[in-house]
């Protein structure tokens, strides 16, 4: 079933406060969902480490006094031309024709890690206990659920975000909220130089310009 649908996330860097609610809600849902478990090693030790589909990083731009702190959520970008898929020797890594989600079939994955090498974004993480490659599924088991209330049929990270920094939708539908946000607010892709055409896009920070404009007016 080939459709023109491409589900994706649009992340608004203006309002992300770096609270990691998307990280924990992602882990909570997915460790018990069809993609789980997402194992942790030495959870109570000195250096706890575990599998996460989503990370929030922090960057500092500029120099004092003109500087900004940018919180930057990072997960699989569900590329339209995903370099991780053709390299998989078993076919465990695939991109769904019906909605463009890139997934891993854990029963076919041999844990060779080649797909992780072939992803320039470091979006894939090997689960050390299950020894299979894991990644963001866009909560495929939530968004098509028939038992959840309709308002909850969205990725866990989107529902958890307290500032609505994450917009979920079909980026091929020009009328979707995600497409409109990309179009009107200058959405961009990460590492465009590798021509992977990420479906997920980011909305650049313009909030400082807005504040400056208001201050200039007064």
């Amino acid at each position: 079933m080939k459709t023109n649908k491409q589900l994706a996330l649009v992340i608004d860097l203006n309002v992300c406060v770096g609270c990691h609610a998307c990280v924990t809600s992602c882990k909570e849902w997915n460790t018990q969902g069809s993609a789980g478990p997402l194992n942790d090693l030495h959870a109570y030790g000195e250096n706890p480490t575990g599998t996460f589909f989503n990370r929030v990083q922090t960057y500092e731009a500029g120099s004092f006094p003109k500087m900004e702190t940018v919180h930057f959520p990072k997960s699989c970008l569900h590329c339209e031309d995903p370099p991780c898929v053709p390299v998989c020797p078993t076919g465990a890594s695939y991109k769904r024709a019906e909605d463009g989600i890139v997934l891993v079939d854990y029963d076919k994955c041999i844990g060779c890690k080649y797909c992780a090498w072939a992803c320039p974004y470091g979006a894939r993480e090997l689960d050390e206990e299950r020894q299979v490659m894991t990644k963001c599924t866009l909560c495929v088991d939530r968004i098509y659920s028939e038992t959840l209330p309709e308002s909850e049929r969205k990725p866990a990270c989107v529902l958890a975000c307290p500032t609505s920094a994450r917009i979920f939708g079909d980026v091929h539908d020009p009328l979707s909220e995600a497409s409109i946000a990309i179009k009107e607010r200058g959405g961009y892709s990460l590492m465009p130089e590798w021509e992977t055409r990420p479906a997920n896009q980011y909305l650049p920070r313009s909030i400082m310009d807005t504040i400056q404009a208001v201050m200039d007016e007064n």
């Binding site: 990370r55 370099p83 090997l126 990460l190």
Partner: protein
Amino acid sequence: MQPNFSLIFFTTLAGMAQGLIISIALLNFRSSLLPGEFLAWLALPVALALLVISLLASFFHLGHPERAWRAMLMWRTSWLSREVLVLPLFIAVTGLAWLFALNQQQSTWLWLALIILAIALWVCTAQIYQCIRFIQEWANPLTLVNFMALGLTSGWLLFASLIAIWPTVLPSFEPSLLAGFGFILLFACLNIKLWIWRRNQRLKPISNLNSATGIKNPQLRQTSMGLMGGSFNTREFFHQQSNLVISNLRKIIFFNAYFIPMIALAYAISTQSYGWIIAAFMIHCSGLIAERWMFFAEANHPQNLYYQRVS
């Protein structure tokens, strides 16, 4: 990247076996320069053993080796899958050549098939690394050239060592001839490696923190990678060694893989002794493992841009 000993042993041992098989196949292609007993009882069993060990070694980098057979399925798109098809075929044809040799027979067609399969295996192995376009150290035909050159050289040195330990003296294979050819091959390999190192040194990374995050400010640094105890991303893509270790290892590679073996071969030529050839081969092997370790370690993955600071 974090070097993985499973892949280091796989690529070096299989490469050596490919070089050995190409050496004996070329020597016996038109006329039987090598006696049948040498092939049946030494050269082909050694090649076969190396290939089987390298196949076993390759299983150790898999999370689920019991599912390895699935890796044959995606040969239309994946070089890794193609390699997984070619390697068992190469082992099977080598086994067939061994059976022929045990029955005092040789076949030109078999030698031809072995040469083609050995080259095909090199292409598959090198393409696995070369086709990752954003690992700039690998995405170059020099990856294939280096794998082939070192495979042929280590294979030839192994062949020369096997001639040296074969109890019957083979008059057409004097030490000076074996060592001389090995010297030329090593010299070529050294130049290829120096060329690669010079290229790597001059590489300008195509991705940077600005393109990775889309934040345009030229003054941009990470203050947190979002985790503290390490993750797959911090373990798999960094070699975790200091610059001192890396630069010392480069010296070890230069001396052990290339320079000292060349001197030993020069001694073998001047003294007409087989012993120096065996010494050259042994030292070269230690350097070869270090060379392959460095091949992985010196590859810079763009994902590392996202994993710079813990705090």
